[in-house]
């Protein structure tokens, strides 16, 4: 009996040690995704892809910065096939570091996605605009007429503006696009004007900015398009639905280059062990069915032409606006560090 017990103990210790290494065993038909987009809808799409093709989608979820570091540290031995993130600047930055490879060149991809939103190494999978929200009770049409991002620094908005922290990636990309268009010096002055106009020290996420306008803490807010639709959908509860009805969306820079656009992108990682599967997954994400799934769940704009945005977006935010297609989204990455510098120098918390 005693001997048996000892054997069992030895086996269980061995099993425990063996399980330490179990994770490094590689499976055959799979694709490894380093994923910085954590919407439920994305997970559903990946399951659908697995059901259709038999290719297992392995996920490692995290914030973009940490994922990028891990891909870079693992270098050529990285297990990463695709890197999916919600900011074009991040894909550009990874490319600049030589961590990506070309291969996203199939007809399916090229035909689906406009040139501004792709390279050979990464491709947009969904679109969003960063726009202005305002309180129709406290902001007049005349005040808003011809409004631009540049106009956010106008002293008439003193104490009336809310926007997120400077560390936020959407703000970095927005300011990067301003630097690209107006130069660093002009943008530095602009940032000081914006800080002077803030109704409060930046705090909270995009939705919190919209709610601050609804609650009367501020008159205008800067936030991404899909947040308002998300609140209106009731998915965030009746209180936020009620709050969303108190604000209206406004597309800036309609008179010149158009409204700042950003994309979620999928990038092909250098040394990807499952390159073919990775390309298949990207192609799948760009099919009309997948795009439909995105627009109806995350309320982003579709990447491809023949899919329409969700009715909540169409009716409350609108589609009939001029997008900034002039400023290449790939430039956001290059100017992001400058953007942070400009904002920090201006005292943008």
């Amino acid at each position: 009996m005693r001997k048996n017990g000892e054997i069992t103990r030895k086996i269980s210790i061995f099993a425990l040690i063996a399980s330490l290494f179990a994770s490094s065993v590689v499976m055959a038909n799979e694709v490894n995704v380093f994923n910085a987009r954590h919407y439920k809808a994305d997970g559903e799409l990946y399951s659908k892809f697995t059901n259709m093709t038999g290719i297992k989608v392995n996920l490692i979820n995290g914030k973009s910065g940490a994922l990028e570091k891990r891909i870079l540290s693992e270098g050529a031995d990285s297990s990463a096939d695709l890197y999916i993130t919600a900011d074009a600047g991040r894909c550009g930055a990874m490319d600049a570091k030589g961590a990506l490879q070309s291969g996203l060149t199939s007809a399916a991809i090229k035909d689906a996605v406009p040139k501004t939103f792709r390279t050979n190494k990464w491709v947009g999978i969904a679109k969003r605009a960063r726009i202005i929200y305002y309180s129709p009770e406290r902001v007049t049409g005349a005040e808003l007429s011809g409004m631009t991002y540049e106009g956010l620094a106008d002293p008439k908005w003193k104490g009336r503006l809310v926007i997120r922290k400077s560390s936020n990636i959407y703000n970095k990309s927005l300011v990067a696009s301003l630097i690209k268009n107006n130069g660093k010096k002009a943008t530095a002055e602009w940032a000081e004007g914006v800080v002077a106009n803030m109704a409060r020290t930046p705090t909270g996420n995009d939705r919190a900015q919209i709610m601050a306008v609804a609650a009367g803490e501020a008159d205008i807010a800067v936030a991404n398009t899909y947040y308002l639709a998300l609140m209106l959908s009731g998915k965030k509860g009746p209180e936020q639905q009620e709050a969303a009805k108190k604000v209206k969306a406004f597309f800036p820079n309609q008179g010149d280059r158009g409204t700042h656009m950003n994309i979620s992108c999928a990038a092909l990682v250098k040394g990807a062990p499952n390159k073919t599967n990775a390309i298949k997954l990207v192609e799948f994400l760009l099919t009309p069915e997948s795009q439909e799934h995105y627009v109806n769940n995350t309320f982003e704009f579709p990447m491809i032409d023949n899919v329409s945005a969700n009715p909540l977006v169409v009716n409350n935010i609108g589609l009939d606006f001029k997008q900034d297609l002039k400023t290449k989204v790939s430039s956001y990455g290059a100017k992001q560090a400058d953007a942070l510098e400009v904002m920090t120098a201006a005292g943008w918390k």
Partner: protein, 539 residues
């Protein structure tokens, strides 16, 4: 000096733990890039001042809450005082980042507070009247309410063995209760309170989740950000150096007071067990209210908020693979506790039988891993493995070892090991100190080998210490965030990472379900083992 199995393995364990710590220290002397020089100065100032403000405020609050409640439940009888005695440690089950989610959920515009007011008093814009606990104040509250229990437990343990004579002394001198507390009880318990506060200080400096959630830049998040945003590992290391200076000072302070505390605890013999005083009506209500308020704010409030959201957005409950998350969490807990305890036992025993000075110093150094924030350890680990792989393994013509260590359970457990080694080592050490060395000698005289002495005599003696260490490690690992986040393998999530990921994506409602489960699991751990945590019958 005798070289044997025990010596070699203890040496190996200590060196293994010290490597990442040294990596952080040594890279301080690398020069940083000149780019963003001005920006760095601005940031450095901000990081340091934020860290100091946070540290002082949290220490002050945890001191007031921790010693206040400990004093009341140790010396007085009032309604539910026996319940509060252990209920107050339940705050351990709520990590600071979940507290932060709750604060935001409750106080934000159109949040829970707004819904409550609206249901009570009808439609009106209450948002402008609801205070907003975010930013620095949010972080301070989150940390204070989830960390005060360190001070509470140690202060209470110290009060418990304080002699009734001290209280009588105060009475004889005609002191008021407050004066007795202030001039006699607190000074006598000072070493224990300082030990509790230094634990709070280390946790505060190492905090990642809550600080990151409210985007307050401290040295710890600064290190992480400069690594990520500026790609400037050297600047990150410079920040680490400043942080380590902070921590080093605390470490010395803690060690000094720990020695005194030990002396103090041992001096308990010969004193009569004190009787708790029955409080009069008003005072007893005040004591009850204070303890209830602390219990409510530190435990019921976050639990309630997470529960409310889980009920309000039930679809999140069904989306979550709870069994999977539970088994992942428990797997990490069991595996890490097992590895930590085995190796800490070996190195403790090695220290005991070899009595070697070098080994002793190395062990003392190696336990400083607990003071280094998890996020920095994870970064140091990746840096070290990448360097080792590029410059040693590849040159030997071997296969890359990166995949074995980065993004694997093995890597995860190794870094947990470095981080929590001191918890295990010290816990077992304090157990060992109670076994007189003459026990070993008698055992050898009876012809027992070293191995047999260890297995048949020490282990049974150490059972309680081992159990206590197990609980501490489990609670730490259940709520651990940065290391798990950076190093975990594919498709591997725990309650903590799921909550963090949802919260960082503006899906705070979805973060409620994993948070709720995390609180419940930690709570059940605490309830089952509360008598070991409180150590009322400390032999």
């Amino acid at each position: 000096m005798r070289i044997n199995f025990w010596y070699i393995s203890s040496l190996f364990i200590s060196i293994f733990v010290i490597i990442p710590i040294l990596t952080v220290f040594l890279s301080f002397f690398e020069s940083t890039s000149n780019y963003y020089e001005i920006l760095k100065d601005t940031f450095l100032f901000e990081y340091i001042s934020n860290s100091i403000i946070l540290l002082i405020s949290v220490l002050l609050l945890t001191f007031l809450i921790g010693t206040g409640t400990a004093y009341l439940v140790s010396f007085y009888e009032f309604p539910l005082s026996n319940f509060f005695k252990w209920a107050l440690i339940l705050s351990f089950a709520v990590p600071p980042y979940i507290y932060a989610y709750s604060l935001t959920a409750f106080f934000e515009n159109y949040g829970t507070a707004y819904s409550i007011l609206k249901n009570l008093f009808g439609d009106k814009n209450y948002n402008l009247y609801i205070p907003k606990f975010d930013g620095m104040i949010g972080v301070i509250l989150s940390l204070s309410f989830s960390l005060f229990a360190y001070v509470y437990i140690l202060a209470r343990a110290s009060f418990l063995y304080q002699s009734q004579n001290f209280i009588d002394l105060g009475k004889n001198l005609g002191f008021t209760n407050f004066k007795t507390l202030y001039s006699i009880i607190l000074p006598a318990a000072r070493p224990a309170i300082v030990a509790g506060l230094s634990l709070v200080a280390m946790e505060t400096l190492a905090e990642f989740g809550a600080v990151d959630f409210f985007s307050i830049n401290t040295l710890t998040t600064g290190i992480y950000n400069s690594w990520i945003t500026f790609d400037d590992l050297a600047f990150a290391n410079q920040l680490s150096f400043f942080l380590l200076l902070f921590i080093f000072a605390l470490f010395i302070l803690e060690n000094l007071s720990r020695n005194k505390a030990k002396y103090h605890f041992n001096a308990k013999g010969g004193f009569k067990q004190k009787q708790k005083l029955q409080l009069k009506r008003t005072k007893s209500i005040a004591a009850f209210l204070f303890c209830f308020l602390v219990f409510f704010l530190s435990f019921l409030f976050p639990l309630g908020q997470m529960l409310y959201w889980t009920i309000k957005f039930p679809e999140n409950l069904f989306d979550l693979q709870i069994i999977n998350l539970l088994s992942n969490t428990l797997y990490l807990v069991i595996l890490s506790s097992f590895v930590l305890i085995i190796f800490s036992l070996i190195s403790n025993y090695g220290n005991r039988v070899t009595k070697n000075k070098t080994l002793n110093i190395l062990s003392t150094l190696s336990i400083s891993g607990y003071a280094i924030p998890g996020v920095i350890l994870a970064v140091a680990f990746i840096t070290f493995i990448a360097w080792f792989d590029e410059s040693v393994v590849k040159n030997l013509g071997l296969f890359s070892i990166k995949k074995i260590f980065i993004g694997s359970i093995l890597g995860l457990v190794l870094v947990y090991f470095v981080r929590f080694y001191s918890l295990a080592f010290n816990g077992i050490k304090s157990g060992y100190e109670k076994i007189n060395i003459s026990v070993d000698e008698s055992s050898y005289l009876l012809g027992y080998s070293k191995r047999k002495t260890f297995m048949n005599i020490h282990i049974p003696f150490l059972r309680n210490s081992l159990l206590f260490v197990c609980i501490l490690i489990s609670l730490e690992i259940i709520r651990e965030l940065p290391i798990t986040l950076i190093l975990r393998p594919f498709n591997f999530e725990t309650f903590a990472t799921t909550a963090y990921i949802s919260a960082s994506e503006d899906l705070l409602e979805a973060a409620a379900v994993p948070s709720l489960f995390l609180i419940l699991i930690a709570t059940s751990f605490i309830i089952v083992t509360s008598k070991y945590i409180l150590r009322d019958n400390n032999e």
